[in-house]
Every structure is written in C-alpha cells, then in structure tokens.
C-alpha cells in the first residue's frame, strides 16, 4: 500500500517535470538561453573582459611584458598634463570638417540617384568601391598620390600649373591635415551614399508624384519630403562620423607616420604604447577617449532632441512651436 503510493508519487512527479519542461513558456526560455549563451560568451571574452583588463592596466605602470607597479591615477594625470596629447584632439577638427563635407556630398549624390538617373547601379558601385579597400591600402594609395612630383602634381601640371606653385601636400602644415582628411572622405562617402539611398528608397513614390502635381520642384521635394523622412539616418551617420573623427588613425599612421603635426589622438596613443612601451599610460588615454566619445554622442543626441524633437520624430521643433503658439492663441481667444 505504502509502496504503491510512493511509486505513484514519483510517477506524478516525473510527469509534472516532463509537463513543466514541455510547457511552452519553459521551452521558450530554454531556447532563449541556449541561443544566447554562445554570443554572450563571445561578447564577454572578446569585448568586456579585454575592456575590464584595459581599465585595470590604466592604473599600472607597465610594459607588455615584465613587472607591473600600481600607480593609481598617475597615468590619467599625465594624460591631462601633456599638451601634445590634448593638442592632438584639435587635429580631429579637420576630420570633423571632412566629415561634414562627406555627409553633404553623400546626401547630394544619394538624392541624385533617388530621382532615377541613367547608370544608377554603376555610379552606386563606383562610389561604394573605395569603402571596400582596406584602410592601410588606401593609405599607401594616397601616399603616392600626394608625393612630390607624383600623381596629383602630375595632373595639376597637365592643367598648366607650375610645380613651383603647387604646395607640398603632406609637408605644408597649413594643408597636410586637409589632405589627410580628404582621403577619409574619399573612402567613407560611398558608404554614406548607400545608407542614405537605402533610407530614401523607403519613401513612398506617390509623395513625389503628388508633390510635383502641386508644383514642387526637386529642391522642394528634397527639402520637404526626403530630408524629413531620412532624418534619423542622418543623425545616426553624424554620430558615427564624430566618433570616427575622434578616433581617426589609418590615414596619418600610414601616410605621414603621424609626423608634421598630423598626429591624431590614436596615433599618439599607439606611439606611447608601442614605441615607448608605456601600456598603462596608453590605456588611460584610451579610456579618456572613450569618455570623450560618450560625452560627444550624448551632447549630440541632446542637441538633436532640442532642435528636432528627437531625431526620430517627424515633427521639427519649429513645427511644434508653431502648433503650440496656435493653441495658445486659440485659448486666449476663448
């Protein structure tokens, strides 16, 4: 009697476990966990653990190999005290200027292509192509492009310019950062074009038709249909652009070795970490740069929130103000 009850008990226990594990909810969670474990492990081993290590390194005076001494905040202090490190952030301004030009050009080309042009696929591919070349190769291309008496100088001479009048593209400190920023415009513009074009494709064609029936020209269509509908993509690209500018590395590293006043923050960080083997100081620099990028991104977000009522909303701040004013006027009339 007792025995049989115990048996039925275990059977029902088993059954309930099987039912529990077989239930929809549990199954769903099981699948979620099994699918997420591997990506999460990868994410942690290759992103968060190295990052945590870097934070730890930034408090040490250390080389790659050899003993480490804990120095507290000394590395951070040194980063702020050294003028050449912070001065290098000014170089990023050139790249930001380049970034603005790049986005404007990309918008222009994308809009042209949005209005059905002949050979659209060819132009799209031609513009996108530079993005597929690796950054180091781009560096070498432009190293010879700008070299004295090479490609660019030869082209300019064909147009009748005297070699004497052509500046030293990489040596003249007034223009060498512009030369370098131009290479990154050349490389990344195509990618922006493709992104903008993708967003523009989602605009309903009927809108253009209706607008042209109402007498809107292409500029009006761009200003009042395209621009508002791809605002969120533009904001995203701006944010990517700014953080990319702060961490510009390949053009100065490959083309000028970071000399002649072209050393960006990243190049100097690389120099300190690898030439001088001061890994602790370089880690501290990296963390300060990360903080700067976060601050810039948040500031940008806030700016767009103020100006455009969050980059994602279709109603601009000005429109909201107009609506509010109207409402207020109505209330007063009452």
């Amino acid at each position: 009697m007792e025995n049989s009850r115990a048996v039925t008990n275990t059977i029902s226990n088993k059954k309930s476990f099987r039912r529990w594990i077989g239930s929809r909810k549990v199954q769903r969670w099981l699948i979620l966990i099994t699918f997420m474990t591997i990506p999460l492990i990868l994410l942690f081993t290759f992103t968060y653990i190295p990052f945590a290590k870097m934070v730890q390194f930034s408090f040490y005076d250390m080389k790659y190999i050899g003993k480490r001494t804990f120095v507290g905040l000394a590395n951070y202090k040194e980063t702020f005290e050294r003028s050449e490190i912070f001065g290098s952030l000014l170089v990023s301004l050139y790249y930001m200027g380049g970034g603005a030009v790049q986005l404007a050009l990309a918008l222009f080309f994308a809009t042209m292509m949005a209005f059905k042009v002949k050979g659209e696929a060819f132009f799209k591919a031609a513009l996108f192509f530079p993005y597929l070349i690796c950054g180091i190769a781009v560096g070498f291309i432009f190293k010879f492009f700008y070299a004295r008496g090479y490609v660019l100088d030869t082209i300019l001479q064909m147009f009748g310019m005297d070699l004497e009048d052509i500046p030293f593209w990489l040596q003249d400190r007034r223009i060498n950062n512009i030369s370098l920023a131009a290479t990154s415009v050349w490389r990344y513009m195509g990618q922006n074009v493709v992104m903008f074009l993708g967003a523009m494709m989602s605009v309903d064609n009927d809108l253009y038709e209706a607008a042209s029936l109402d007498g809107a020209n292409k500029w009006h269509q761009f200003r009042y249909i395209i621009l508002p509908s791809i605002k969120s993509i533009i904001v995203l690209n701006l944010i990517l652009c700014i953080s990319g500018c702060l961490s510009a590395f390949e053009p100065p590293y490959v083309i000028t070795n970071g000399m002649m006043g072209t050393g960006t923050y990243f190049v100097i960080m690389n120099r300190i970490a690898h030439e001088n083997q001061r890994v602790g100081l370089a880690s501290a620099m990296a963390i300060i740069l990360l903080a700067l990028i976060i601050i810039c991104t948040v500031a940008q977000k806030l700016f767009f929130k103020y100006v455009f009522n969050d980059g994602t909303s279709d109603e601009s701040k000005a429109a909201v103000r107009r609506r509010k004013r109207l409402e207020k006027a109505q209330r007063q009339r009452k």
């Binding site: 474990t37 999460l40 492990i41 080389k63 004295r148 040596q171 070795n257």
Partner: protein, 478 residues
C-alpha cells in the same frame, strides 16, 4: 511565471559567471605556470653560472661551447621552427642554409617562418610559450626577463672569448642570445658623387661633413643627404650614433649617459650627443636634404643611391649590401665612419644584429637541436659573407665594406653596472628621448619649419632626461 523568470535569470548569471571565472581561472593558472617556470629557470641559471658547465649538463641541455659540430648529437631527431624578420629571403637564402645544415644533421628538420612587423608580433607571441624554437630576441624583452623565455647558452666569460657582441643579451653572467653577426655604425655614401663634387678628404667633424654636403648640392644634381623621413625607423637610426661614435667611449651609453647631468648640452669640440643631432638639424635647415621628406620612400631610395641620385644616407652598415644589390653600380657604394672626432680620436660603434634565442618551453631534444643549428649558423654557414656583416666568431676577417674604418677604433658598448641592467631602457622610455623614431623626427621637423632652435630642442630633452633620472633616483655624477 515570475518565478521562472527569476530562475532563468539566475541560471543565466550563473552561466556568465562560470564563463567569466573559467577565463579568469585559466588566465591566472597559465600565469602561475609561467612564473614558476621562470623561477625554475632562474634556479637553473644560477646553477649554471656558479657550477659552470656541469650544472647545466645535469638538465640535459649543453652550453653552446660544448657542442662539437658534425659529431655530437647526430642521433637527435627533432623538428625545429625558426622565426625571422627577413621575409624577403626566408624562402630562398635562409631555406638554403637550412638545407645545407640538414645534410650535416639529417635527423633535424629546420623550418623557417618569416614574420612581417617582427618585433611587435614576436613580443606578443613570446608571452604564450608555444611560438617555435629559435627566434631573434626582440628588443622589447628586457635583460631581466631573458630567463623567463630563453635557454641559457653558456656563461659570459667563456662565450665572450669566442663570440662577438654577446654582452648585449647577457644577464647575471649568463648569455641568452648570440647576435647574428654585427654591424658598424657609419654613413653610407656614393663614392662617385662625393668625388665629382670635388671632395678629396673624407670629413671628420660635423662641420666638414656639412661643407661636403653643400659642395654636393652646388656641384652635382644628387640629393646631398636623404633622410628617408617617412619610413620612420630610418630616423630612429640616428640614435645609434649617440653612444660610441659621438664619445669614443665604450662606457658612455650604458654607464655614463645615465649619470650625466644634461647630456644633450653643446660642447666646444662639437662632440657628444649634441653633435649627432646638430648634423641632422643643420643639414635640414640648410636645405641639404630631399625636397619633400614627407613623401620619401625607402625602397626606391636604395636604387637612387646606387645610381648616384642620392649622395649620402646615415644608416648602419647592414644597408651597404642592399644598396649594392639595388642597381648596376655596386662599386660606387662606400661606407664611412660618422664624422665626429673626440680628442683627436675617432671611434665607431660595432653592435650585434638581432640575437638568436632558444625557447625554454620547448622539449629538451628541440632545445639541443636548436642549439646545434645556431652554432652551425654562427660558425660554419656563409651567412656573414652574404649579409656583409661582422662575423660572430671572434678573429674572423671583417667584411670589405668596412675598409675605411682602418683609422677608426671599432668598439662595442660595455655592459651596464650591476643592478642597472635595465636602467638605460627604463630611463629612455620614461623620458621618451633616444627611444624610437619620433624624438629624432621632431628634430627634423624643428629644422624644416624653423619652429624651434636646436638648443631649445636639446634643452627640452635635457629636462625630460633629468625628470626620468629623478624618477628612478639615479645618482648624478657631475
């Protein structure tokens, strides 16, 4: 539902925590292993140093001087992997050496691996023990760390009698690496151009050198001095003249420089570190270098000096063979000592190339096989003739490229004082002077843009040097 959520989230955190600790755990374990390994090695090394050969024989690996090439260890079978930076000749010349060696030792198989970006990659690979058997010891490994990674090759006194330049990779009287021959520090030049410019006597002071460059500019079409600025490392090469060439004193770099107050100050005789950078600064300021240093190109410069489009380049003697090979006029390439005279005496630094080191994590057979191969390379292979370098074996004849060094004493830096083995590296890394390419590049920039006088630049270096000396509590001897 909520319970399940809680359960699941707990499970997740457990999994994550597990994966975290797993990583951390294995990390610390391997580190522990390394540490104990190094401790053991340290012990073995101390034994080797005191008890000489017997101590090391006990561990199964002989010292390099005990091996009789061709007769010993014929029965050892091993596959050894050799890392090298010479990617250009790894599959031709170096492979040829390996094949020749394998005729002598058919049971040992030697494979080469060429690595671009050598110093950086190998530094990282060294930290996990499984990188191969023989490598060129990168400069980033400090002396105190040799025993962590490399097999002791023998004690200093014995090997120093037999080989050149062993001081550089010696710690605590034990040698961990033997340089693959050596080079002398001087200046490569095109003899024909210097003659055409009307220079009959080779310069012995910086000012005579600059006058010579001026004559070349006035009388020929060649670029008087090619800096190769944009390659970077070519600027770092100027640091090599600070020690012996500018002071004619083998104790200067590793001992005196560290204890000197303001070492970069000008002196009346125009010698010392100031004179080295004076030569560079003035050459740039007087327009005696290439028009656009930012777009200079190392590979094509080899052919240009061969054809006589470049008159002079300041680089170690290893470059001479490459310049000769780069065109049809190998006989035009000459090599002269750096133009500084100290108290009527001239000296040139002779230093070792990259040194061979053997992995101490490899199996005993591999360690022995690697040692046999290194010994063969150093003593019987044609490697030094091929590369035009000073042979590793003492008493062998110097290469003909160094014929102009007759009147000049060839010296190598003496070992640092006890307890200061890594001080030179520490101070120059801390000061960020004499380390790497950038400080020298800044001298060129200052001259090119006229943004800073040399005296200001050298004062800045003096300040940095002093700060580093203070940081390491170095005693200053006036």
């Amino acid at each position: 539902m909520r319970k399940i959520k809680k359960l699941v989230s707990m499970g997740m955190t457990a999994v994550l925590a597990l994966s975290l600790t797993a990583c951390g755990g294995s990390g610390s374990e391997s580190k522990g292993g390394n540490d104990s390994g190094s401790a053991n090695q340290g012990g073995a090394e101390a034994g080797a140093a005191s008890a000489d050969a017997q101590g090391s024989e006990a561990s199964g690996v002989p010292t390099i001087d005990q091996i009789n090439l061709g007769t010993d260890y014929q029965d050892i079978a091993a596959d050894i992997l050799v890392l090298t930076d010479r990617t250009d000749i790894v599959d031709t010349v170096y492979k040829g050496y390996a094949e020749e060696f394998m005729k002598l030792y058919p049971n040992i198989k030697v494979t080469y691996e060429g690595i671009t970006d050598y110093a950086e990659s190998v530094t990282l690979r060294l930290t996990n023990g499984d990188w191969g058997d023989v490598c060129f010891i990168p400069a980033t490994v400090e002396k105190s760390e040799f025993s962590t990674y490399f097999v002791p090759l023998g004690d200093y006194a014995t090997l120093n009698d037999r080989y050149n330049f062993v001081t550089e990779k010696t710690f605590d009287n034990t040698v961990y690496g033997i340089p693959n021959g050596g080079t002398a520090g001087g200046v490569a030049y095109n003899k024909r151009i210097w003659e055409e410019a009307g220079i009959t006597e080779m310069p012995t002071t910086p000012d005579e050198f600059l006058d010579g460059l001026q004559k070349i500019k006035d009388n020929t079409d060649a670029i008087p001095l090619y800096t190769n600025f944009s390659a970077g490392w070519t600027m770092g090469a100027w640091n090599d003249y600070v020690g012996i060439a500018s002071n004619a004193d083998p104790d200067y770099k590793n001992n005196k420089l560290l204890h000197t107050k303001d070492p970069f100050t000008k002196n009346d005789e125009m010698s010392g570190p100031y004179a080295v950078f004076y030569t560079l600064y003035e050459a740039v300021a007087r327009g005696l270098v290439e028009e656009d240093p930012a777009s200079s190109d190392w590979e094509s410069s080899k052919g240009m000096i061969n054809r006589g489009e470049i008159a002079t380049m300041v680089l170690g003697s290893w470059c001479v063979q490459q310049f000769k090979d780069a065109g049809d006029n190998p006989d035009d390439i000459g090599y002269m000592p750096f133009p500084i005279t100290v108290n009527g005496k001239r000296a040139a630094a002779a230093g070792g190339n990259y040194a061979y080191g053997i992995n101490n994590q490899a199996s005993t057979e591999n360690q022995i096989a690697a040692m046999v191969y290194i010994k063969w390379l150093l003593e019987e292979s044609p490697i030094f003739e091929d590369e035009g370098s000073i042979p590793a074996l003492k008493g062998s004849p110097y290469p003909e490229t160094l014929e102009e060094f007759d009147s000049v004493e060839l010296l190598s830096d003496n070992a640092p004082a006890e307890g200061e083995e890594s001080l030179y590296d520490d101070i120059r890394n801390m000061a960020e002077v004499l380390s790497g390419d950038y400080p020298v590049s800044e001298v060129l920039e200052a001259a090119l843009y006229g943004s800073m006088t040399l005296d200001d630049k050298m004062n800045e270096w003096n300040e940095k040097w002093t700060r580093a000396q203070e940081n390491f509590n170095v005693e200053i001897i006036e």
